[in-house]
């Protein structure tokens, strides 16, 4: 009986997602249309990609508050490359590499300065945003080849291209987390850093790697965002870090580290995406949406805590 209750609670995020889906289908006739669902997929792609990166960082016991700024900076640099005439693939790669470098620097600062990641990334949040504004003089990049919109708006085999991208990224991150030493070490470091050091794990290297991977995924998200807006906005991504963290946490990730999963994060991200889409469809004001999403975060984490307290 006890085990059953535990299972039920473990599945709760997934069940909530399904209930939300069904409820919205009933509440709004427009919800279950192909048009709306593809638009949800597109809207959530940016947050979901970021949240995947945040998942690894949080599992390793870290946090990255600078992802919103990384998103802005990498989207800007990527579109500047396009503006300069480089091929689209090069521009996208540039965005990803910039994101990775930003993450790498975060990791370096966290491991070398021995300052809590919360503080380090609070600082780089400002630095990366400032750099984006300096590089662009505060002006958005507009001269972008039309073909670039394919990344965020195009379809492949009738399904949004970003959905394919998300699936590929999710599978990759899942494999890294569950089937490679890097992922194993992320869990170990997040669960007990001292024990990991004493087991001979190169802890600093792996923490840095984790932030770099998170940064690369954020860089990709930055390019998706730029493609959807068809502009390189130096101010893009403000406040996105909270969305990414919320998705991880709703999906069962623990800010104490050592816990989290790709599936959980995606469920968390989609719950937030559907809430926001549903609120739009049902004409609930943007102001109330924030209240609702905030309440869901607290509710989800409370339920998860209750489950864990019972389990141990």
């Amino acid at each position: 009986m006890k085990l059953k209750a535990g299972m039920l609670q473990r599945l709760l995020p997934f069940l909530s997602l399904i209930i939300l889906f069904v409820a919205l289908s009933i509440a709004s006739p427009y919800f279950l249309t192909a048009n709306n669902l593809t638009s949800v997929a597109r809207q959530t792609a940016v947050f979901n990609t970021m949240a995947l990166g945040m998942t690894i960082v949080i599992i390793s016991g870290g946090i990255d508050l600078s992802v919103g700024s990384i998103l802005g900076l990498s989207g800007l640099v990527g579109t500047m490359a396009l503006e300069a005439g480089y091929p689209i693939v090069v521009g996208v790669l540039a965005g990803i590499v910039i994101g990775m470098l930003c993450g790498f620097l975060n990791g370096l600062l966290v491991t070398r300065l021995r300052i809590p990641p919360f503080v380090v990334t609070l600082g780089t949040l400002g630095i990366y945003r400032g750099l984006a504004l300096i590089f662009s003089n505060g002006l958005p990049v507009h001269k972008i080849p039309a073909a670039f919109s394919f990344l965020g708006e195009g379809n492949l085999l009738g399904i949004p291209f970003v959905a394919w991208m998300l699936v590929i990224c999710a599978v990759l991150v899942h494999v890294v987390l569950e089937h490679t030493r890097l992922g194993r070490y992320a869990f170990a470091i997040g669960s007990n850093k001292i024990a990991s050091i004493y087991a001979g794990i190169p802890v600093d290297f792996h923490i840095t790697a984790v932030y770099a991977i998170g940064g690369a995924l954020t860089g990709l998200a930055g390019m998706i965002e730029a493609s959807r807006l068809m502009t390189g906005q130096p101010t893009a991504g403000q406040g996105y870090e909270l969305q990414a963290i919320a998705a991880v946490v709703i999906g069962g990730g623990s800010l104490n580290g050592g816990e989290g999963s790709v599936v959980g994060t995606l469920i968390g991200a989609f719950i937030m995406g559907l809430l926001s889409n549903g609120a739009d469809l049902l004409n609930i004001s943007n102001y109330w949406q924030q209240v609702i999403i905030g309440s869901v975060i607290i509710l989800a984490v409370t339920l998860d805590e209750v489950r864990k307290r019972r389990a141990v």
Binding site: E178, N192, Y198, A199, G200
Partner: protein, 496 residues
């Protein structure tokens, strides 16, 4: 006049009995020493007196009236205060503010009158001649200074019984003398004092009466002048040891780990030399704070060695990090497995393979099937009581958690093992199994250092025993030595 009387106090934590019959009587104007080995129940008994934990049975009389204290505040209200090993002061506030913390005098408007409390604190400090200033910040004080602030606080709050829990364990000689002077002063003012200590050399400088606890019960109480130190030690350690600890003793092989003249400034280790041989279990005794854990940390690359060298299999090794140590085949089983040994929220399988993921990696990917198969095999061999390798390490009992920690190093195929208090917090059955594992390791050619505060265990398991005292190795004893010999090396100045 008897101030405090404890009669047959009992306390259980889960299934573990911490106290079965704690008896103690303290009069006003006396310094009452409370002695006993680690785990004898001294701290628990004092926590009951101070209202930090509640007794399960027995009586506590305060000035002849039975009392039951639920919180430290209730204890403070009737006049009982405890000076803690770890200071419980607010570090960013001044001495005066700490003395009056929670009892600030307020002006009619509710402001805290800082000048008034500083003045009052100053008068108190003068009266007792504490080496303090009312306006110093507490985080700038030495451990001795902080203790004195706690003492001031107790006096200010009108305490009539003061409990000292190993007050001098982290103090220098001068500071110790200061504490002694203050204790004598308090005694002269008719305060009752309970004084816990491990340092046999300071007993007679301070104590009037003495009570010895062993295995949760009072085994001796009387005037200090009436009993020689040897006999006190016998009371502390005298217990029968079950035969399960017996093991065969092998001829040791080649030297696996040599420590030569190692000093660590930070942890006060001075000129330590020792050799661990293959097939031998070297015991290490000493009081808490003697530097045994610190030595393990230094060998394992956690703390930097300032002088001296470490040789592994005859070769000088630069071990700067735990990673270097692990690569050199050294394993550290720490004294606190929950903090530094296990990833509690991860499965057993992940913990077992943590120090050697190379062994389960195929083409850069983890072979999870191999991980679970190998951990299950190892678990079976070690009689690990777990449902499967997927069970979370945090859900295991203490003994089984310890087995997982040891399994991690077996999986790594380490050859040199540093066991720091390997039986802490595990039950008697699991202890025997841990010793059996250690014996098997020795048979298979491992070199083992076993740090333990449990003398009977050391005496039965170790092939020889090194004793540490205040950062140095104070002596070596062969198998068959007595507990009295060990205690003497652990507590007394070396004979001139």
């Amino acid at each position: 006049m008897v101030l405090l009387e404890l009669r047959n106090i009992e306390k259980h934590f889960g299934g573990v009995t911490a106290l079965r019959s704690g008896n103690l009587a303290v009069a006003a104007g006396e310094v009452h020493l409370l002695l006993g080995e680690n785990g004898a129940g001294k701290s628990t008994l004092m926590k009951i007196v101070a209202g930090i934990v509640q007794r399960d049975g027995g009586q506590m009389l305060w000035n002849g009236q039975e009392v039951f204290l639920r919180t430290p505040a209730e204890a403070a209200a009737i006049g009982i205060a405890m000076v803690n090993q770890e200071s419980l002061l607010a570090p960013h506030m001044t001495v005066a503010e700490n003395i009056f913390l929670g009892r600030e005098e307020r002006s009619p408007l509710g402001w805290v009158n800082r000048r008034a409390i500083t003045e009052k604190a100053r008068r108190l400090i003068e009266q007792y001649q504490f080496p303090l200033d009312a306006e110093w910040r507490v985080d700038k004080l030495s451990p001795a200074g902080r203790q004195m602030v706690e003492i001031c606080r107790a006096i200010q709050h009108g305490s009539s019984l003061l409990i000292f829990d190993e007050p001098t364990s982290s103090l220098s000689d001068t500071e110790t003398q200061q504490v002694f002077r203050i204790v004598r002063d308090l005694k002269a003012r008719q305060m009752g004092i309970i004084y816990i200590t491990h340092r046999m050399d300071e007993l007679r400088a301070i104590g009037d009466r003495v009570t010895v606890l062993r295995d949760g019960g009072t085994v001796h109480t009387g005037n200090l002048a009436d009993i020689p130190t040897d006999q006190l030690i016998r009371h502390m350690v005298g217990r029968e040891v079950a035969q399960i600890y017996e093991r065969e003793h092998l001829q040791p092989g080649a030297a696996a780990l040599e420590v030569r003249g190692v000093s660590v400034v930070k942890s006060k280790l001075k000129d330590i030399s020792l050799t661990l041989r293959k097939g031998e279990i070297t015991g290490m005794a000493g009081l808490i704070g003697a530097g045994r854990t610190e030595l393990c940390r230094a060998i394992f690359g956690i703390d930097r060695i300032d002088a001296g060298e470490v040789l592994v299999h005859g070769e000088a090794m630069k071990i700067r990090t735990p990673r270097d140590a692990v690569k050199a085949g050294i394993a550290l089983v720490t004294e606190d497995r929950q903090i530094s040994g296990l990833a509690l929220r991860l499965p057993i399988g992940a913990n077992v393979t943590m120090a050697n993921t190379e062994r389960i990696s195929r083409f850069g990917f983890l072979d999870l099937a191999a991980q679970n198969r190998l951990s299950a095999e190892l678990g079976q061999k070690m009689r690990l009581k777990a449902a499967s390798p997927a069970q979370l390490a945090g859900t295991l009992s203490g003994g089984n958690q310890q087995k997982v920690v040891i399994a991690k190093w077996l999986f790594r195929e380490a050859g040199i093992f540093l066991f720091d208090e390997p039986t802490r917090g595990i039950d008697i059955g699991a202890k025997a199994e841990v010793f059996e594992l250690m014996s098997e390791l020795a048979r298979a050619g491992a070199a083992i250092l076993m740090v333990s505060s449990e003398l009977p265990e050391l005496m039965h398991v170790a092939d020889r025993i090194l004793v540490m005292r205040q950062g140095r190795i104070s002596g070596e004893l062969a198998r068959g030595c007595t507990q009295e010999q060990i205690m003497k090396l652990a507590v007394m100045e070396a004979a001139a």
